[in-house]
């Protein structure tokens, strides 16, 4: 799997990443974005370099939170802004209910991936849209299934 996996992943959020593929380096299935200052150092056998973008494993791409933040800054990206309580629950690995969605940007179609942002516009992770994001009624229905969230930094330490 080459750097195309990074671009393909970004396109799932409707983002065409304008990154120079020559500056994306792979190391044991992990992708890093470097620059021309880091390049002379990154020719050696490194462990980590520049901005970590994510890893490819068994044909699947697992994005880093640096990449998700990059995508969240793009105006065209799919993203939902959620309320304070739901933002915390999302970090704890929970899904998003429709009533917690404050705003929707980009495509809100069922089956699409969407970034999940808090009220400050900070990216907390991403999920898969599994129900209506907006609409009337109580709103207790599941809207976004959690795929990955920044609480992962704590889970990795266990």
């Amino acid at each position: 799997m080459k750097a195309t996996s990074v671009f393909n992943f970004a396109s799932q959020f409707r983002v065409q990443l304008a990154l120079d593929p020559d500056l994306i380096v792979e190391k044991n299935g992990r992708f890093f974005l470097i620059n021309n200052i880091l390049r002379p150092l990154a020719v050696r056998d490194f462990f980590y370099a520049g901005a970590y973008l994510g890893k490819a494993k068994e044909g699947k791409f697992f994005p880093s939170f640096i990449l998700l933040s990059m995508l969240a800054k793009k105006k065209e990206s799919n993203r939902v802004v959620v309320d304070k309580k739901s933002a915390w629950l999302f970090i704890c690995g929970r899904d998003i209910l429709r009533k917690s969605v404050v705003r929707v940007h980009g495509q809100g179609k069922k089956g699409a991936n969407t970034l999940v942002l808090n009220e400050f516009g900070e990216c907390l992770g991403f999920g898969r849209i599994v129900g209506k994001l907006i609409g009337s009624g109580v709103g207790d229905e599941l809207a976004v299934r959690n795929v990955s969230d920044i609480g992962d930094f704590l889970r990795r330490e266990r």
Binding site: L33, I34, N35, I37, L38, P40, L41, A42, R44, D45, F46, F47, Y48, A49, G50, A51, Y52, S64, F65, I66, S69, A87, W88, I91, N118, E122, L124, I150, G151, F153, L154, R156, E157
Partner: protein, 296 residues
Amino acid sequence: MSGKEFFINRYQSLGWKYREVKSRQAIRINSTNADDKKLIERLKGLGVNVEKITFLQSGYWVQPSKVSVGATAEYLLGMYSIQEAAAQIPVSLFTNLRSKLVLDASAAPGGKTVQLADAMQNTGAIAALDVDKRRLTALSNHLERCKINNTVVFLLDARQATNLNVKFDRILIDAPCSGNFASDNYWFRNRTLKNIEHNSALQKQILAKSVDCLDENGELIYSTCSLEPEEDELNMDWAVRNLQLSIDEINCYGERGLTEVFGKQLDPMVARCKRLWPGATQGFFVCKLKKRSNTQ
């Protein structure tokens, strides 16, 4: 030669009277990712109150709270790092870090690497080395969490830093050391003079190799969290005498370095180092070195 009494007597002979110390938790705000004022307000909203550490630029004491500062969204978003107050000093002593080539010789778990990157505003490049792969994973997580993009991490012994074939503008040696009792409850039980001498020898080797890859006009910061002079002033005295280095005056929290240790008179320049006996912070030692020109 070990045991609590042995070490307490040593400290007394160096001019410090032992007392129990309880270390306080501190954080450092990552200025690249957060504005101090706004972040402090957000933490307050969560029930976390912080107090400015007067001798640090972006350091804050954390007041006791039911909320863990290691489990907030703000922490997970890289807005701040949990970093002991004294440990925030070394990086702050470098001048003009922007766009520089920096070596972090013993980088894991990465608190100071992230501080360097933050001070550099993600410009230039940092080569971060460590010999422990598991600790490199912790370092990598730390870099990802804080959205650092100017660092290359190597599984490499600091004594092999010359293999990188780079002359660095700035070098940080936060040397592997014996630690101190203020941050380790079992310190007195586990440490012997032999351990300390072993660490001292390792630190000298790291110093010597690091100097070989320091640019002629570069700055080298050496620090340990050890209170033992063999790892601190005696090593600096050795460096001045054997590595053509000079010690710069530094303006930071702490007492002047000892120039007489166990009856041995050290180079007067060693007084320019800073020694932090445990109290407001954990025990610490720091100094700034430069290459001596031939005319000096």
